[in-house]
């Protein structure tokens, strides 16, 4: 059975109780729009050790993509149990040794925030299964589709899409509060659920990796999502207003988003390691690729997370990813468990390899 929203939270609380020396329960500073308290877990072995690099994993952003929460709860539970029993982890055809598990928890901080949008999940699981947004009624009539903000359009990245993007781009975002899927909200970080994610990135300034778990399409996406990538012209970038009105068109050269080649190689390499480990479990082939394909997005978590160090050089560089697991939002639970195993193997590999990509 899938976890309801009470269970996602109590599962986290019980993990923190069962492994007090390996994890810490994090109270997110804000409740959801409907007042639900949110928790994350920080995993680290050798808790008295000094500061270390951090990987942040979030899920349950889009209400209907149920299995994201279970994936992250299982991922945390596996690492904690394996470490505390001196074991390795086996997912189908993919094996991680006890030494790999130990190195990972002793070398990294791992923050897992499995349920960013509890109100939306509750609504999807008990009322309208296809619900995606949060449940904020404030911005319109508060009835039907005129409820809610798409949390993954509410981050501060090219938020003013009407200015930033080409009219030809069909950017996948809306300023209409009655858009059933992709209403961006009245301003960046208007929603407490989005602010909780930003708080985590601020609270853990050594975050170098960020993974937002979604469904579906069997992809491991890396930056950018607003346009195709290029590594030749640093001036052609999201901060440069000279390119307003040109962004987001597929297949043109008028605008493509700048990413230094080293960063792109690092981002795509780690994404490939994720997909290779995932495939080893039972042969599922996920595609590692940039988020932009055919049409652009604005205000998403991955572009925001990676853009932070560009907007503010005092902030650390965060390589940011979006997983799109499976081929439907709500597979039968038996199938969802197989998908969760696939993705957990990919995530363990991701954490095992991430530190080796640090060069600066």
């Amino acid at each position: 059975m899938y976890l309801n929203i009470t269970e996602v939270d109590s599962a986290l609380v019980n993990l923190s109780g069962a492994y007090p020396s390996l994890c810490e329960l994090i109270d997110l500073p804000e409740t959801s729009v409907e007042g639900v308290a949110c928790h994350a877990l920080r995993l680290r072995a050798d808790p008295d050790g000094g500061p270390r690099d951090c990987a942040v994993f979030i899920g349950g952003v889009h209400a209907r993509e149920w299995g994201s929460c279970e994936i992250l709860v299982f991922f945390a539970a596996d690492l904690l149990e394996a470490y505390s029993t001196g074991s390795g982890l086996v997912y189908g055809g993919k094996t991680f040794t006890a030494a790999q598990v130990a190195a990972l928890l002793e070398g990294l901080d791992i923050v897992v925030f499995p349920l960013v949008n509890p109100d939306g999940r509750q609504y999807s699981q008990t009322v309208k299964a296809m619900w995606r947004k949060n449940r904020n009624p404030e911005y319109s009539t508060g009835v039907g589709d005129c409820v809610g903000v798409d949390i993954n359009r509410n981050y501060d990245f090219l938020f003013d899409f009407a200015t930033a993007f080409s009219p030809l781009s069909d950017v996948r975002v809306s300023a209409d509060p009655c858009d059933p899927q992709v209403y961006q909200g009245p301003r960046p970080f208007s929603e407490p659920e989005t602010r909780n994610v930003r708080w985590l990135l601020d609270e853990y300034p050594r975050t170098r990796w960020f993974v937002d778990v979604h469904s579906f399409s069997e992809d491991m996406l890396h930056v950018w999502g607003d346009d195709e990538n290029q590594s030749d012209d640093p001036d052609m970038n999201f901060q440069n207003s000279a390119f307003d009105g040109t962004r987001g068109v597929d297949g043109d050269t008028a605008y493509r988003e700048f990413v230094p080649k080293d960063d792109l190689d690092s981002a795509s390499g780690l994404a490939r390691h994720f997909t290779e480990a995932l495939e080893a479990v039972r042969g599922k082939q996920y595609t590692a690729k940039p988020a932009f394909d055919l049409y652009p997005t604005a205000g998403t978590s991955d572009d925001y997370a990676f853009s932070r160090h560009i907007v503010d050089p005092d902030k650390g560089k965060i390589h940011a990813y979006t997983i799109e697991w499976g081929t439907e939002f709500q597979p039968p639970w038996a199938e969802m468990k197989l998908i969760a195993k696939d993705v957990c193997a990919g995530l363990v590999q991701f954490c095992a390899d991430a530190p080796s990509t640090v060069t600066d």
Binding site: F74, A77, D78, T97, Q125, T126, A129, D179, F216, D250
Partner: protein
């Protein structure tokens, strides 16, 4: 839910990228999760979407075919039966387990 509009899960296949882009520009489609237009055969590109029955019929064009994959509303209702009720972790002593097998090996010796 009584009166809830039936949503179909469909695959929309366009003759080529341009035809698919034109369609996406004309229609606000719920294309699900990741933007995953899949290629071929030939120049064809297809994308999955969630649309009302009425809208599904309206998407058909000379260069666009619509194939119904399932009734998303009915599937969603069935899946809601697979959601836990109550709290399986109400007892603080019940610890969640992941899906990986925990296997002892020699790699942490010494």
């Amino acid at each position: 839910m009584a009166g809830e509009e039936k949503i179909l899960h469909v695959r929309v296949t366009a003759a080529d990228t341009r035809a698919l882009r034109n369609l996406l520009r004309d229609e606000r489609l719920d294309v699900g999760g990741g933007p995953a237009p899949t290629p071929g055969p030939g120049d064809e590109r297809s994308i999955e979407a969630f649309v009302t029955e009425e809208k599904a019929l309206g998407l058909e064009r000379e260069d666009v075919a619509v194939h119904v994959l399932g009734d998303a509303t009915a599937i969603g209702r069935a899946r809601q039966e697979e959601v836990g009720t109550g709290d399986r972790f109400a007892d603080p002593g019940i610890v969640p387990h992941g899906l990986g097998q925990k296997v002892k090996d020699q790699s942490r010796e010494g």
